[in-house]
């Protein structure tokens, strides 16, 4: 296989191996040198292919901004990536060293190979080859590569606010930090759920009490919180909060149609998860519900004694952590009052309630051109890039991409939309077997090469309408 053999161009697999060798774990200050190494390595590579590189400080890890100077009238694409990786723990489950990339059977193993160093390398390589082939390509390109994606992109929003001038005139965002179901099927992610996270704490007595001396006369905060939690869903699995679904956008027939082409089996899905069955609101398959419906999930519940054996105590407090996933056109601002009011109104008399807000993000949905029966106005360059994506994928992969929403939340996509009003084309590159965030993370090198060719072609066609 002729991987990365553009004339004069670097070999992306060799470069990726070197990139992996910098242990850029953003969560742990002990890896500060690895963070710097990874940042400067990718900065050096971008300099090599002609970009002006700048490291923009944030409160924690700098954001790398690399610009190709061009003509302001050209289309302008922002290519997003992140140079940080998840911690490699548990180390003893790795079959190869996490920060020494190891090639085996057409795959490259190491922390960050799939998330997100490999996919980012595909973008850098594609741009390098494209500019080598056509140095005067009429396309403004800005790489924005952050170092805090794995810890929540907390400083990315303020980066966007403070440095919007650096991204002025951009038409859309292009990135690969999503997945595909197989090496044969490209997926363009068009929607992400938002999220609202919060904690509810109920308190009764001022200290834990002996369940013999005081048992049977107080509202136990666990009982109270259980009553509240039990009330938050209907028996058929819907969220039982008035108005919760009011803003949920209708699912259009093309969306269900696209999803059906994934050809997933509920039985296999249940077996994979180890569950006897699903608990889904009426009218939706599990695959649809994950993408099209909002949720209220309990992420943690704690109160009283949880060690070995028994302790006959009546707890003073009980807490539950809840996350609501949101879908278009819900917003954290519209949903929080509904949920918080419902919870407060259902707390049994006498218990004190405290609700603590945690992080949140807005749901995201972009409708590619030629999909919806009721298309919305879309910037011309974005529409052109979507069409370029559709055509390039259809030709190179031998079949059209699927346009799917995902159930997860990617705050930075919502932030780019909210702060800069930019939509994104999310071109999937990692596979289900790539073990993201887990030991033995790996990346399929054939997919990488096919990705490079595809990205190159998408950018070329976006530049040349």
């Amino acid at each position: 296989m002729a991987l990365g053999q553009g004339a004069g161009m670097f070999d992306p697999v060799e470069k990726l191996k070197e990139y992996i060798s910098y242990p850029s774990v953003s969560a742990d200050p002990a890896f500060a040198e690895g963070m710097k190494g990874a940042r400067e390595f990718i900065g050096g590579l971008l300099t090599e292919i002609g970009f002006a590189v700048e490291y923009v400080p944030t409160e924690l890890h700098p954001v790398l901004v690399a610009k190709r100077k061009g003509n302001p009238d050209w289309p302008h694409v922002i290519i997003y990536g992140h140079y940080d990786v998840q911690p490699p723990d548990p180390l003893d489950l790795w079959e190869t060293p996490p920060f020494e990339a190891t090639e085996k059977d057409g795959r490259l193993y190491g922390r960050g190979t799939a998330d997100n160093k490999g996919p980012l390398m595909a973008h850098v390589t594609a741009v390098g080859r494209l500019l080598e082939a056509e140095p005067d390509l009429p396309l403004n390109i800005t790489f924005v590569i952050e170092g805090e994606e794995e810890i929540g992109s907390h400083n990315f929003k303020s980066f966007l606010r403070r440095h919007s001038d650096k991204l002025a005139g951009a038409d859309f965002v292009f990135l690969s930090d999503t997945g595909i179901p197989s090496a044969e099927q490209m997926v363009v992610t068009v929607g992400l759920r938002g999220v609202v996270c919060f904690e509810v704490e109920l308190t009764n007595a001022k200290v834990d009490l002996h369940s013999g001396m005081y048992g049977g006369v107080l509202m136990n905060p666990i009982q109270g919180l259980a009553e509240v939690c039990a009330s938050l869903h209907t028996p058929d699995g819907r969220v039982n909060i008035p108005g919760f679904y009011d803003e949920v956008c209708d699912v259009e027939p093309w969306e269900r149609e696209q999803l059906k082409q994934l050809d997933q089996s509920e039985a296999q899905f249940a077996e994979f998860l180890g569950v006897k069955g699903f608990h889904v609101p009426p009218g939706y398959t599990p695959f649809e519900a994950i993408r099209f419906l909002p949720t209220l999930e309990f992420n943690g519940f704690g109160g009283g004694y949880q060690g070995e054996g028994s302790k006959t105590v009546i707890p003073s407090k009980a807490r539950v952590k809840i996350s609501c996933r949101l879908v278009a056109n819900q917003t954290p601002e519209s949903i929080k009052p509904l949920v918080f009011d419902a919870i407060r109104s259902r707390v049994p008399a006498g218990l004190k309630v405290k609700i603590t807000e945690q992080h949140e993000s807005t749901p995201y949905l972009v409708v590619p051109p030629d999909r919806s029966n009721t298309p919305k106005d879309q910037p011309a360059v974005l529409a052109r890039a979507f069409r370029a994506t559709h055509d390039a994928v259809s030709e190179i992969w031998g079949r059209a991409p699927l346009y799917l929403r995902e159930g997860g939340s990617v705050g930075l996509i919502a932030d780019l939309k909210k702060e800069l009003n930019l939509d994104a084309i999310l071109l999937g590159l990692f596979l289900p077997e790539d073990n993201l965030h887990a030991p033995n993370e790996g990346f399929n090198l054939a997919v990488m090469e096919k990705g490079i060719v595809t990205i190159q072609e998408i950018l070329r066609r976006t530049a040349h309408p």
Copy 2:
């Protein structure tokens, strides 16, 4: 005050100080020497007043058995006590060293002063004085002093089974390991609740799942367990399990009457606990409910992420620890199937349920003579001892004792009843301010002396009908 000044007799306060100096923490193997020291110290004291002392091995800490040889026809009382104490932690909250007894303002401070070394010293002293005054007292006395009360008396039941011969012919048990509301009011505890402790675990998926990728299609085990828990009480505070109250014995008017004499205020009780109000089944005050009604309390609930901030996970499992307090005439054997069946039948479909039994004990109730309108046959010696208690307390304390049930459970009392069919006279000696199990445990020395005189008189009158 002439504390312990029986002619030729030891001074109980000085002896108690020495007894406290042995750190007999049964929970911690590091205190083995303190356990041995305390055991042999109290054994030596009993030898000194004429008892034949034996240390009966168990699987952990030996039981001290001390017998006064007498005439088999005499009445036979077992005096129970325990030589072990709670750990002294947290040490930094003690104002005096826990194992150096310190006298101040008529109180003796130190770990075990109130629970149970002081009250036991009162019994030993009373017996010593009594035998000094009347060496031929027609009363068989056996001290049974265990070393595992603070860790659940787990080996006491098998001690009773294996060594019932050592206790053969006993008529009743006499002990002081309960409390009184003030230094002026004696209380004889006539009832204790039983307890059944268990844990319920619900499982759905085989591992924790990402709440974005999988949220909204599975029965969350926290939701399932919250539904089960919420179902276990009615809104008016009763346990919502068919048949749960069927065996509960009627509360007789004299019991409510005795309790009223405690003159407790609900408002003060609420303030003490830091609660806005009580949640009690209809027809009962909180003070009655604690003593006369069974309960189902949640002691702990755990599932998912409970650390700082948020983690968007759908937990695989959720667990709840439950304890049911039982009252006469319920039994663990009758209640467990009702509770377990109710829980199993209320688990939402698809979730796996596991119930793990923990410890249990039977409720206890003895009705003193002349109380009930429907008196039961009672052994003559027990009835005589109860009358002796009533008269001695009335004379020495200037008012009759109150006969009250307590909300807690004392397994060894249930075991003595179950294994040897022995009832107990529980003469309270410690005060609300004595800080049992807490830092700065202390014991009122005037109550101790009044207790010694009272115990001496009760035993004398029991011997001489």
